[in-house]
């Protein structure tokens, strides 16, 4: 069983479009995250979210928004896609204040 899954694995789209990436975890964790990994493999936190608070990295454009329909899901919506949004996006989860984060397999987004 996949602990943290993401769909789609690959996403190719035109500039200006709106797209979503879905994330699901079956670990029973209550905190989920989105990370962006750029072409140089640098990993940067975008959001962390549990049922109490959403923490947004201040450098994330407001075109990006996380949406959580329930504890097991945290989807990433991106409006008005730009070329610079091309990257691999990773979802992760952890249990409350636990330190270990479990990452999904990633979604490679390419904006043309």
């Amino acid at each position: 069983d996949t602990a943290v899954s993401q769909t789609p694995k690959y996403l190719v789209t035109q500039m200006g479009n709106d797209k979503s990436i879905k994330c699901e975890q079956n670990l029973g964790h209550d905190t989920m995250y989105w990370y962006k990994q750029d072409s140089k493999k640098f990993l940067k936190i975008m959001f962390s979210y549990n049922n109490k608070e959403l923490i947004i990295n201040e450098t994330v454009p407001n075109r990006f928004s996380p949406k959580s329909p329930d504890k097991a899901h945290l989807n990433l919506h991106i409006n008005s896609l730009e070329l610079g949004d091309s990257a691999v996006y990773f979802c992760a989860s952890s249990q409350g204040g636990a330190d270990t984060q479990y990452f999904g397999p990633g979604t490679r987004l390419t904006v043309l």
Partner: protein, 113 residues
């Protein structure tokens, strides 16, 4: 502003060698220092982690050395194997209710057979 600096960017060793990857941090509020391993096409996975109250931690062939006064920590891989070839990330975590990891820039390790 990069809060965790990692070096080297890439590293090539022979099988059986001991690669060492170094990280330095700036924020003294960090209280947890994990290392993640990432294979091509996969997400990062926790390898080993340390808290600042200990100076060394070993798990199998992997060892973290931690120097609190210098604000530095390093990963040593004993008897490295070709299967260890991957990208390694150090990270640091801030106190708080949402544990947001700050990653280093990554080290691409290649272990030659």
């Amino acid at each position: 502003q990069q809060q965790v600096k990692q070096s080297p960017q890439s590293l090539i060793v022979q099988k059986g060698g001991i690669p060492i990857i170094n990280c330095a941090y700036e924020n003294t509020a960090f209280d947890y220092f994990p290392w993640y391993q990432q294979f091509p096409g996969k997400g990062p996975a926790l390898l080993i982690a340390i808290r600042p109250d200990v100076s060394e931690k070993k798990e199998g062939r992997f060892t973290i050395s931690f120097n609190k006064s210098a604000k530095q920590f390093s990963l040593h891989i004993m008897d490295s194997q070709p299967g260890d070839s991957a990208t390694y990330f150090c990270a640091a975590n801030l106190l708080g209710s949402a544990r947001q990891l700050t990653f280093g820039s990554g080290t691409q390790l290649t272990v030659l057979p």
